[in-house]
């Protein structure tokens, strides 16, 4: 058993901030949707707006980080080992088979994660941000006025925003469960909190494809731990 440094400090901050914001946006958002009453409608709208701005700011920082550090390449979807990873969840896991892909700071996402997270980042989050901004800044058509954003109704915007929200809820449920599918039940969670993850030594069958040309930041040394 050895301990690998997987998640950078900013990455972890980003992850937990994003988690908190998405949960909060979900609660306030579904209240605005009329699914339940918790904060009260007026408060829910106010909080949802504030959290939305927080989320947008966080996204701006995250994009900056991903671009400057080349980390965006982590999310490039790949066919390689996709089947192996899927097979692992369907069969291997129940036979105590090892994870088919090796997690390193260079390549921390398995092929299924790459696919799902890329979808999240390219499709769902942008849709939510865009429809959310339209929601905030639309103006109904007014005569003889310069308009920031003219739409005839909220129907389509609201539908897209709601679909996105439902997809995020489902992602959230699956994500919570998949935390437990690391080397041990808690090793994924620990990694996201501390940055370090316990990984088995030599039992890796397939090494995940290394991500090319990551800008060279000093990676903390891998600590060997007595088994």
């Amino acid at each position: 058993m050895k301990t690998e440094y997987i998640y950078h400090r900013f990455e972890r901050f980003w992850h937990w901030m994003q988690a908190a914001l998405i949960i909060f946006l979900g609660v306030t958002g579904f209240e605005i949707h009329g699914s339940f009453t918790f904060f009260g409608y007026e408060q829910a709208v106010e909080y949802h707006d504030i959290a939305a701005w927080g989320f947008i700011i966080l996204i701006a920082f995250a994009i900056f980080w991903h671009v400057t550090k080349g980390e965006w390449r982590q999310y490039l979807p790949t066919w390689r080992n996709l089947k192996a990873q899927a097979d692992y969840y369907v069969f291997g896991m129940f036979r105590n088979a090892p994870h088919p892909t090796k997690k390193t700071v260079i390549s921390k996402l398995n092929p299924l994660q790459k696919l799902v997270y890329a979808g999240l980042k390219v499709l769902i989050i942008p849709t939510m941000v865009f429809t959310g901004l339209v929601y905030m800044f639309y103006r109904y058509p007014q005569r003889n006025e310069v308009l920031s954003l003219n739409i005839s109704g909220l129907q389509t915007v609201a539908m897209l925003h709601t679909i996105g929200a439902f997809l995020l809820v489902s992602f959230f449920v699956a994500h919570l469960y998949l935390i437990t599918t690391g080397h041990t039940v808690t090793s994924n969670l620990r990694a996201m909190i501390t940055g370090y993850e316990d990984l088995p030594d030599e039992s890796i069958t397939v090494v995940n494809e290394p991500v090319p040309a990551i800008s060279g930041e000093a990676v903390p040394e891998t600590k060997e731990v007595a088994q």
Binding site: I32, E42, D49, Q155, V173
Partner: protein, 522 residues
């Protein structure tokens, strides 16, 4: 070190930006304090009318008072004669009907129906003397009733069924010496009692507004800014600002909240966004008929029952009329939530002689507007429903003669006979009557504009943005967050959530089972 400072910088910026988003812009405070300063100023009259010898004499006829007024204010009577308070009609474009001259003089309602053949009684509220049935007097400026509006003594009153003449008890000389700008008492004497009693017609205009608290009306409150009607309903050359959609059709000459408060008066921009589609009144008049009930339903078909050959009245436990032989049966309501409609400031009207389909309720006035119309906003209205008389052969409404000067003249209130009442009324209106009458359901829509509540009592967000029975549940044509949802999106969403949960539990369960098996096998 470098990393810690970077993290601090990121966190610091983040917190600063959130605080900026939270901070409300306080620089554009609505000019409420300025408005209060403005309306707290009460100008003293420049003259004391009680010192004029012209007004100290004994007046035989009210027209002599008018002559005395004109001796100083020449030309003013002619202004009044050009106003709707005198004309009781004006030229309007009525949607679907064209350019018509409409007003009290010829239009029908579903309260006391119409004035034709009933002038002697109805014109008690005319701003003139002697509007009985002939219209010749309309030319004489001495018939202008200055006192009805300018009495500041609170003692002026018009005679019941006197065609606009003052009551014999009125001391004309005393009233003439105490004149000034119209007060709520002057306006309210007519406008609070339309339809034959307090608050019958409007629901938001009633005698409680002579001396209201802030909770009843934040503008007219005597414990508040105590505004008079004419503070908003300003006049130039005796042409008053404001009108009612029971008798007028065009989007003009309106009193607007925005003229004082601006179109975006809230500190909160989410609320300001609402002003594009929601009228001020919709949120700021959560209830009307706050003190006394207003009439909601009037069944004329029940009128005419007699006890021992004599008309009678029934009252409910609160002393409100629920049956009168002369008028039929009523339903009243108090502390009412308004109904809401899209309204663009224009209305169409049922005009005397228009054919209609008696199998459906008839809108006597219809407020125009829809979500897609950029001029429309959601407005609060009072809906008044009636069963009223119509000609079953000609399929048009009947103008009945109600007022009865003497038995046998056809007036329903004397003879209690719809047949002769319809004949006499339609003769005066100049329309044929087939001799066959029935009763049909009609509706009127009265925009609610008064009884504005203090801002703390304005309608809350969740009263409309709710799935269950919100105030705007019936108002269609648009998507409202909190009220509306797409059923397919909900099905998809909850289905997906259920599938995900099921998948998670099945997979997790299988893992537990597989783990146990492995342990046993080891």
């Amino acid at each position: 070190m470098k990393r810690i400072s970077l993290t601090l910088l990121v966190l610091g910026t983040f917190v600063a930006l959130i605080l900026t988003a939270l901070h409300k812009n306080s620089s554009d405070t609505p000019p409420l304090t300025k408005l209060k300063e403005q309306y707290a100023m009460r100008t003293k009259p420049s003259v004391d009318h009680s010192l004029f010898p012209e007004l100290k004499k004994k007046f035989k006829r009210p027209q002599d008072v008018t002559a005395a007024c004109i001796s100083c204010y020449n030309g003013r009577a002619e202004e009044v004669m050009h106003s709707s308070h005198w004309q009781w009609e004006r030229t309007e474009y009525v949607a679907g009907k064209g350019i018509r001259s409409v007003g009290k003089r010829n239009i029908l309602n579903n309260f006391c129906i119409g004035i034709q053949s009933n002038e002697q009684s109805c014109t008690r509220c005319h701003a003139g003397y002697g509007y009985a049935d002939n219209r010749a007097y309309f030319a004489d400026s001495l018939d202008v009733d200055c006192l009805a509006c300018h009495d500041n003594s609170g003692t002026y009153a018009k005679m019941n069924e006197g065609a606009g003449m003052p009551d014999t008890s009125v001391d004309l000389s005393y009233v003439a010496q105490h004149v000034g700008l119209p007060t709520r008492t002057d306006c309210g004497t007519c406008h609070f009692f339309g339809g034959g009693g307090n608050n019958v017609k409007h629901g938001d205009l009633e005698e409680a507004l002579f001396d209201p608290t802030r909770d009843v009306d934040v503008h007219m409150a005597t414990d508040g800014i105590n505004m008079q009607c004419v503070d908003c309903h300003t006049a130039k050359n005796h042409q008053m600002l404001g009108k009612m959609y029971s008798v007028s059709s065009m989007n003009r000459n309106r009193v607007r909240c925005e003229s004082c408060h601006g179109s975006m008066p809230h500190k909160d921009n989410v609320l300001n966004d609402h002003t594009f589609k929601i009228a001020c009144q919709t949120c700021h008049i959560p209830e009307y008929a706050k003190v006394n009930p207003t009439k909601l339903f009037w069944d004329w078909s029940k009128a005419g029952r007699l006890k021992d050959g004599k008309p009678f009245e029934l009252k409910d436990s609160s002393g409100t009329d629920i049956y009168m032989s002369i008028k039929g049966s009523f339903k009243w309501g108090k502390d009412l939530k308004p109904s809401y409609v899209w309204f663009n400031g224009t209305a169409t009207h049922y005009l005397l002689g228009d054919k209609f389909d008696p199998s459906k309720p008839l809108d006597i006035n219809h407020l125009m507007g829809s979500y897609d119309d950029p001029d429309s906003k959601i407005y609060p209205v009072k809906v008044h429903i009636a069963e009223q008389i119509y000609d079953t052969k000609n399929d048009y409404l009947i103008q009945p003669k109600l007022y009865s000067a003497r038995k046998g003249d056809g007036g329903f209130w004397g003879d209690f006979n719809w047949q002769t009442s319809a004949e006499a009324g339609m003769k005066a209106a100049g329309l044929p009557y087939s001799g066959h009458y029935g009763f049909t359901e009609t509706r009127m829509y009265w925009p609610v504009n008064h009884m504005v509540a203090p801002k703390e009592k304005a309608v809350g967000c969740n009263e409309c943005h709710t799935r269950n029975d919100g105030r705007l549940a019936e108002v269609g044509g648009f998507y409202m967050p909190g009220r509306d949802f797409n059923p397919w999106v909900e099905r998809f969403g909850f289905g997906l959530m259920a599938l995900t949960l099921a998948g998670v539990f099945m997979h997790g369960g299988a893992r537990v089972v597989a783990g146990r098996k492995r342990k046993r096998n080891v």
